[in-house]
Chain length 97, copies 2
């Protein structure tokens, strides 16, 4: 089974209240390094078999038409999820490496 990642972020000129809320909460946890936070969406699309260029083209079409609102959002990346990537293998908690 192949998987394709689509990353969608608000356009830089669009206000991001969720990101700002996170930004404001970080210093309360003692984390003062971060000057800005933006929150976006990440989709993982599964396909049968290997990911082909046609799958990627259709994922891009889905990204433009359904997964993002082109008035306020940018599709910043569409790529195959390679098996070496630590996806779904949590970095923390019970299943962590």
């Amino acid at each position: 089974m192949g998987r394709i990642v689509v990353d969608v972020m608000l356009k830089p000129e669009i206000l991001d209240p969720q990101g700002q809320a996170v930004r404001s909460a970080l210093p309360r946890l003692g984390l003062t390094d971060f000057t800005d936070v933006r929150q976006g969406k990440r989709f993982v699309l599964s396909v049968d078999g290997e990911v082909t260029p046609e799958h990627l083209a259709r994922a891009r079409e889905a990204a433009e038409t359904l997964l993002s609102n082109p008035v306020i959002e940018d599709v910043v990346d569409v790529h195959e999820l390679v098996h070496d990537e630590p996806e779904q293998a949590p970095l923390t908690g019970e299943g962590a490496r």
Copy 2:
């Protein structure tokens, strides 16, 4: 200015109604390749200057404590956003390459 990406996805065993809604809508757009869709969150944290290992450690701490709910979500990736990555440079629309 350095940037760090934190990717958070629902744990595989947790139902994802948003992803299912997207999954159900795709065939209506003629996109029938996709067998499953999962929707997660993507955060971009900015820091002053270069991203250091300490920044990444603190981003991971933020990911675990604030950006994800460890009961239902996994932090699947924390990495520096390298300038070669097409981030914030939209793939589509006015600013597209």
